[in-house]
């Protein structure tokens, strides 16, 4: 096979066929191997269905790559509604010229991540576009999952008195990706936190059904997620700066670039709003999972200042934590 992806690889002809054949062993399962136009399967119960496209630049970063990110992102979106993720679709848009070796690396990473999460890729598609029409590779993944009986998770469910939990350090992913950006390269001892969280969520749900809201604070960071909780439940949120876990290297990078870690993207984090009486049980359960070992309670839901997130700062003052607008850019000054 050529060492670069060519337009002809997406033409539907022999080269396309070869390319797909070279994928299959990586992702093989009975449903996918049929290569029918659609995957056909039975499911019953309440279903969750989600889709997301991934365009991260750079496509390889410390702790992950676009493939792992895509699987985790979709698996986590399903998990945040309490669903058990089952099946994924996988669709590539590849810019002509992408080294085949890069594609292979991404595939292996998709395979490993899907295996870890226990999900199957059951249908897929590949398109190759002209140079300049895409940035190396874009991935779209849709996913479907089943919501177990008795689970009711929604950002609107938060109630005054509920506790807010985060499962570990914030900001790792955003800063790890930033550290690889052309022209900014710096050494960061912290990899991206990119991880599938369905295992953690199912253990949390096994410990208590009183989990009211779950969300993965990806783009827009923890600040955005907390604002969603406050807005959709029409209650207020108070968090304590001192309790919010941030790796010191991430903090240092934030200081350098003028970022607030609350707004930095995460890919292996979840923020949970849980009933106060079950908070400790859930926290203890989370700490047993490798993706929850640093879980902490960072604040609570209050009846005051509806729709607003307020943070008590380390210095003892308080301030509003607003929604971010636009892209985070490093400071110039």
């Amino acid at each position: 096979m050529d060492d670069k992806i060519l337009l002809a690889h997406g033409s539907g002809g022999k080269l396309s066929h070869d390319l797909i054949e070279s994928f299959l062993p990586e992702l093989s399962n009975p449903m996918l191997d049929k290569l029918d136009d659609s995957a056909v399967f039975d499911l019953s119960g309440r279903l969750a269905f989600t889709t997301d496209s991934y365009t991260v630049n750079p496509i390889f970063f410390p702790g992950g790559d676009i493939g792992k990110l895509a699987v985790c992102g979709t698996v986590n979106d399903l998990s945040m509604s309490g669903a058990r993720p089952l099946y994924l679709s996988l669709s590539f848009i590849i810019e002509e010229g992408l080294p085949v070796a890069d594609l292979k690396k991404i595939l292996v990473s998709i395979k490993n991540t899907a295996a870890e999460a226990g999900v199957k890729i059951i249908t897929g598609d590949t398109k190759v576009v002209n140079r300049g029409s895409a940035d190396r590779i874009f991935i779209n993944i849709s996913g479907i999952g089943v919501i177990p009986e008795g689970v009711d998770i929604s950002a609107a469910n938060a109630r005054p008195g509920d506790k807010i939990i985060i499962n570990g350090n914030i900001g790792d992913h955003g800063i790890a990706v930033l550290s690889q950006r052309e022209g900014l390269e710096f050494k960061l001892p912290v990899p991206s936190d990119c991880a599938p969280l369905n295992g953690l969520v199912s253990e949390m749900l096994a410990a208590s059904k009183k989990i009211r809201c779950l969300r993965d604070p990806t783009r827009g960071g923890l600040a955005t997620t907390l604002n969603d909780f406050a807005e959709q439940s029409s209650f207020g949120i108070i968090i304590e700066e001192e309790r919010i876990p941030v790796h010191r290297a991430v903090m240092a990078a934030c200081e350098l670039f003028g970022f607030d870690p609350l707004y930095i993207a995460n890919e292996g984090k979840l923020a949970a709003v849980v009933a106060a009486e079950d908070a400790e049980v859930i926290l203890a359960e989370m700490k047993r999972n490798k993706y929850g070992k640093d879980a902490v309670i960072i604040g609570e839901v209050v009846a005051g200042h509806p729709g607003q997130v307020v943070m008590k700062t380390t210095l003892g003052a308080s301030r509003i934590v607003d929604m971010p607008v636009g892209e985070l850019l490093p400071r110039i000054c």
Binding site: G183, R243, I244, P245, R248, D260, T314, L315, A317, S318
Partner: protein, 361 residues
């Protein structure tokens, strides 16, 4: 946040605050020069914690904000030229100019690339030999040395299709201009952190000497700022204004002489236009004669129309410390970070954006 850095230690902060409360007798007005300072002050709620005797004013230290409309119009005019790629820092792209913005020009088909560093711009130039690449050089003494390095690199690597629209500015002259205007009755200035890492603390000596105003160079962590305020209070109460450094880990009194040398080898001091203040003599940087071929203003005939300031926007007086965003009739109504009217709402270091995010409605 959870880990306790020496410059975020709440106990140390408490001690500093106690000392400030104890020592501060006179009613004073302090200006924090940098937008980064303003962000830190709001983010950590420092204004609430200071005694009533101390009033903090935000200054002009936001490179995007102080760029004059007329200069921004030049960048847009360049972007509209055939076979020109304009490379710019992201914030700049969203600032409304007199007639358009780089963002609008981009949507209309101009080739505008958002870069994170000047190195990216140089790379674009070497990848596009058939095009002219112009880097919009904004920023203070912090960014100018890296831009100077890119010019030298372009020369060594014979990258001929690269040039700079130099809108760089230097800080001490604008401080002088603000003091000379006499609009704000200042007792002390929190001097820039990153800028001073380059130029050192000596260039501020004229402020205590000629104006009797206290100076403290500060970083961007809460303890840096509290320490600076503490130093300023000490200087003011004792009647001994001078220049102190509250940011020892970042700033040496003599600065970074190598970076200054690099900057001075490529740039020379020139007059510059500041938004809200106007032309300030010897407050900008232009390429030296021998690097004239890298000067976009020499390479291209740039003729933007007469500059028009956004109607109702009071960024100018905000940058001079005369007004706060709360006095702007457009603040939060017509002007928000999603659809900014003036640059102070665009830049992440702009005073209006900071008020918008941290002050609440």
């Amino acid at each position: 946040m959870k880990f306790v850095e020496e410059y975020r230690d709440p106990d140390l902060a408490k001690k500093l605050l106690e000392r400030i409360h104890k020592n501060s007798r006179k009613s004073i007005r302090l200006m924090e020069f940098c937008g980064g300072h303003t962000v830190a002050i709001f983010r950590h709620g420092i204004r609430q914690l200071l005694p009533d005797t101390i009033k903090m004013l935000s200054g002009p230290g936001c490179p995007v904000c102080v760029t004059a409309s007329a200069d921004l119009d030049k960048a847009i005019a360049l972007a509209d030229m055939k076979d020109v790629i304009v490379a710019s820092f992201g914030d700049m792209v969203r600032v409304p100019g007199s007639y358009s913005s780089l963002q609008k020009a981009k949507a209309d088909g101009a080739d505008i690339r958002i870069v994170y560093s000047v190195q990216d711009a140089l790379a674009i130039a070497s990848e596009n030999p058939g095009k002219q690449v112009v880097f919009v050089g904004i920023g203070f003494e912090t960014t100018a040395p890296t831009v100077a390095a890119s010019v030298l690199q372009a020369q060594t690597e014979e990258i001929v299709n690269y040039s700079i629209l130099s809108l760089h500015k230097i800080c001490p002259p604008v401080m002088k201009a603000i003091l000379d205007l006499g609009e704000v009755n200042l007792s002390g200035i929190i001097c820039p952190g990153h800028v001073s890492a380059i130029i050192g603390s000596h260039p501020y000596q004229f402020i205590p000497d000629h104006y009797g105003i206290a100076c403290a160079v500060s970083g961007f962590e809460p303890l840096d700022i509290l320490l600076a305020v503490d130093m300023l209070v000490g200087q003011i109460e004792s009647g001994q204004p001078r220049v102190e450094i509250a940011y020892r880990r970042g700033v040496k009194p003599e600065g970074n002489t190598q970076a200054v040398k690099l900057m001075e080898s490529v740039f020379e001091v020139s007059d510059a236009n500041w938004r809200g203040i106007g032309a300030i003599p010897a407050s900008g940087l232009r390429l030296r004669g021998e690097y004239g071929k890298y000067d976009a203003e020499k390479r291209f005939e740039i003729e933007p129309g007469p500059a028009i300031e956004p109607k109702g926007c009071i960024c100018g007086s905000i940058l001079r410390g005369v007004s706060t965003p709360l006095e702007c009739r457009l603040f939060r109504r017509t002007c928000t970070p999603e659809s900014p009217v003036g640059p102070c709402m665009v830049s992440s270091e702009g005073t209006c954006a900071t008020y918008y995010y941290y002050q609440g409605s």
